[in-house]
């Protein structure tokens, strides 16, 4: 079954490119949307008997090298969800390049699906590259100046990350003689940690931190996020950097490098610094999307802080925050796109009072920012609560305090944003503004609905996590 997560999108790309550009432009986004929805369904049911039964009847290629566990399934479902929302959002503006957009979203999906399913560091690298190459093109798809600049920065930083990761893989291959997760992990636990392995580890983590946009490796991220077309920045912030950076770090520290105390400290410092500096930088932004970009750095910091703790509860909390952040940050990016498409600007100093004219966008954005700031009963509250509890239980009191205090910073910058964009007096020149079209409203309602439901039904989520042995 895992191979289907690669083969179905591949089939999708081929199908939408066959009929030629005119028809392709019209149907590409819908076909890609169908693939994304199929992916959500397959990921959610991936643990069921049906697939196990099917696997005994039909044997697909790559069965041995691709695997799905709970962590993978959650990320696969999130990928499908965010890709679907991004594809709907693309319909918000007339896009003459829908064919390419749809195809490239499918290619990034293939890349990300590969990244989460492989159990081999070299294949991991191959699929990271697929995702990166498709993202460069997606950012600069309209060939405008700023996006090209953002894509170029991303390209250069990503090339640096690639060199670091490849060097790490080479060193591991030389010392261990294998690139499979299990073989490397076995060798490391048998042979002890040699200096070469530490060098490889540092290189690997540095490379992945660039991909995740952790401070101090974040230089490319605000430019790429804010300059990309709306649907693309949502995809980037919501899922791409999370899969390529955060997921891979979490996977490697659980499956390959058993976490040592030095690494623990390193991750927790990286996470805490990202949380605080990201939040402080977000406060100073005037550009709506740039603020969201810095906020993403800060929230990714929470995930890394919690995962770096190395305890089961810390990992579960990180996984939950991974999903929650993907939904509510995508929600805020959809709303930013809606505001930009209606008012023509992203500068918050030129906006104001939009809530009366755009009630749905204004309302859902309140849901999004309250959830980001960790206000009950929304989904973000629960994952942050779990993170703080995990930190406290492990005796990391200082980090727990940082996590709580940074929530106040988060609330502060989002209140500033909300006041400047949606509340207050309507700015002159914005009287004729209308609610955004269905293509922006539908994803924002779906994502806000998920944020509220995961929050309200959290006891069920907790039961599910317990039944899966996560906590």
């Amino acid at each position: 079954m895992p191979a289907l997560f690669l083969l179905i999108p591949l089939l999708g790309v081929i199908i939408i490119n066959l009929p030629g550009r005119k028809i392709g432009n019209r149907m590409a986004v819908w076909a890609a949307l169908a693939v994304a929805i199929i992916q959500i369904g397959m990921a959610v049911t991936s643990g069921s008997m049906v697939w196990q039964g099917l696997a005994q009847v039909v044997s697909l290629p790559f069965g041995a090298s691709l695997q799905i566990d709970l962590f993978t399934a959650v990320v696969l479902a999130t990928t499908g969800l965010i890709a679907a929302m991004s594809l709907i959002l693309d319909k918000n503006a007339e896009n003459p390049r829908s064919l390419y957009f749809g195809s490239l979203v499918l290619v990034t999906m293939m890349g990300m699906n590969g990244v989460v399913m492989v159990r081999d560091i070299f294949s991991l690298y191959v699929f990271l590259e697929i995702t990166a190459v498709a993202s460069f093109v997606l950012i600069s798809i309209n060939k405008e100046r700023d996006p090209l600049e953002g894509a170029f920065k991303y390209f250069v930083m990503s090339a640096v990350a690639t060199v670091l990761i490849l060097a790490a893989i080479a060193i591991l291959l030389l010392t261990v003689g294998s690139v499979g997760f299990k073989a490397v992990a076995d060798n490391l636990s048998a042979g002890g940690v040699s200096p070469q392995v530490i060098v490889a580890l540092i290189l690997f983590i540095a490379g992945l931190s660039i991909k995740a946009g952790l401070i101090p490796f974040h230089a490319w991220l605000p430019d790429a996020y804010s300059s990309a077309p709306p649907a693309v920045s949502m995809l980037l912030a919501g899922i791409i950097t999370k899969v390529t950076g955060v997921y891979t770090i979490m996977r490697l520290i659980t499956d390959v490098f058993s976490i040592s105390s030095i690494m623990k400290t390193a991750f927790m410092v990286l996470g805490a610094v990202s949380i605080v500096i990201g939040a402080l930088a977000a406060m100073r932004q005037d550009d709506f999307k740039r603020m969201l970009a810095y906020s993403s750095i800060s929230q990714v910091g929470y995930i890394i802080l919690s995962a770096g703790l190395g305890t089961p509860l810390g990992f579960a909390a990180a996984l939950l925050h991974f999903f929650n952040h993907a939904t509510f940050k995508s929600l805020l990016f959809v709303n930013a796109a809606a505001v930009e498409s209606r008012s023509g600007t992203r500068q918050m100093s030129r906006l104001g009072g939009l809530a009366s004219k755009m009630p749905i966008t204004g309302g859902t954005s309140v849901v999004g920012f309250l959830s980001t700031a960790g206000v009950p009963p929304l989904s973000g509250f629960w994952s942050k609560l779990l993170i703080v509890i995990a930190l406290w239980q492990a005796g990391a009191y200082f980090y727990a305090v940082v996590a709580v205090l940074a929530s106040i910073l988060t609330l502060a910058y989002f209140l500033i944003m909300q006041r400047r964009v949606f509340f207050g007096k309507l700015r002159e020149g914005l009287e004729s503004i209308r609610e955004a079209g269905a293509a922006a409203v539908v994803p924002s309602l779906i994502l806000a609905g998920i944020t509220v439901l995961v929050g309200l039904l959290f006891p069920l989520v907790l039961l599910l996590m317990q039944s899966q042995g996560l906590i």
């Binding site: 195809s103 490239l104 290619v107 293939m110 294949s123 498709a134 030389l174 003689g177």
Partner: protein, 170 residues
């Protein structure tokens, strides 16, 4: 382990490699930079050959030194050279920007030199894939990576189509 005469060759070749790489980065003329990059590939080819992997050497030579250099040179031939003032301004900027590069390189070199005995980085390669033919490695052991390669090429094709076609469609 490599014998001592081989070691001497390696040191010479690796210094050459580094030299042409620095040259490729620092040189002002794009054409010469492309050629310096090709020189990097050629030296690397020799190193790979001496280390006993002729196949990797052939790929390196044909793709990196041959194909990529040809693409670079044809792209450069489409550009027009800058004026003297532009070049002078660029040169000043470059000096300012890259002045730290040689210092950094020397520092890293000294650091590695000092740390060498404790790092024990002269690793005798643990024979991965030794005894397997190329077909077996590519199609049996690493077939997933071949699929990955195909998808990367697909992404690259879309990249070329999106970025280089329909210039007027801005």
């Amino acid at each position: 382990m490599l014998d001592s005469s081989m070691n001497v060759w390696m040191v010479i070749l690796l210094s050459l490699l580094l030299l042409s790489a620095v040259f490729a980065v620092m040189i002002r003329d794009l054409l010469k930079a492309a050629i310096a990059l090709a020189a990097v590939s050629v030296v690397l080819t020799v190193i790979m050959f001496l280390l006993g992997s002729p196949l990797a050497a052939v790929f390196e030579l044909s793709v990196c030194a041959g194909l990529i250099t040809a693409i670079f040179i044809s792209a450069i031939s489409l550009t027009k050279p800058g004026t003297q003032e532009e070049l002078a301004a660029k040169r000043r900027l470059r000096l300012k920007r890259f002045i730290y590069l040689p210092i950094l390189l020397v520092l890293i070199g000294v650091g590695l030199w000092l740390a060498w005995p404790s790092l024990k980085l002269d690793i005798a390669a643990v024979g991965t894939g030794a005894g397997l033919s190329v077909q077996q490695v590519l199609w049996d052991a690493r077939s997933l990576d071949i699929l990955g390669q195909i998808i990367i090429i697909l992404a690259g094709v879309f990249g070329v189509v999106v970025l280089f076609r329909g210039r007027k469609a801005r």
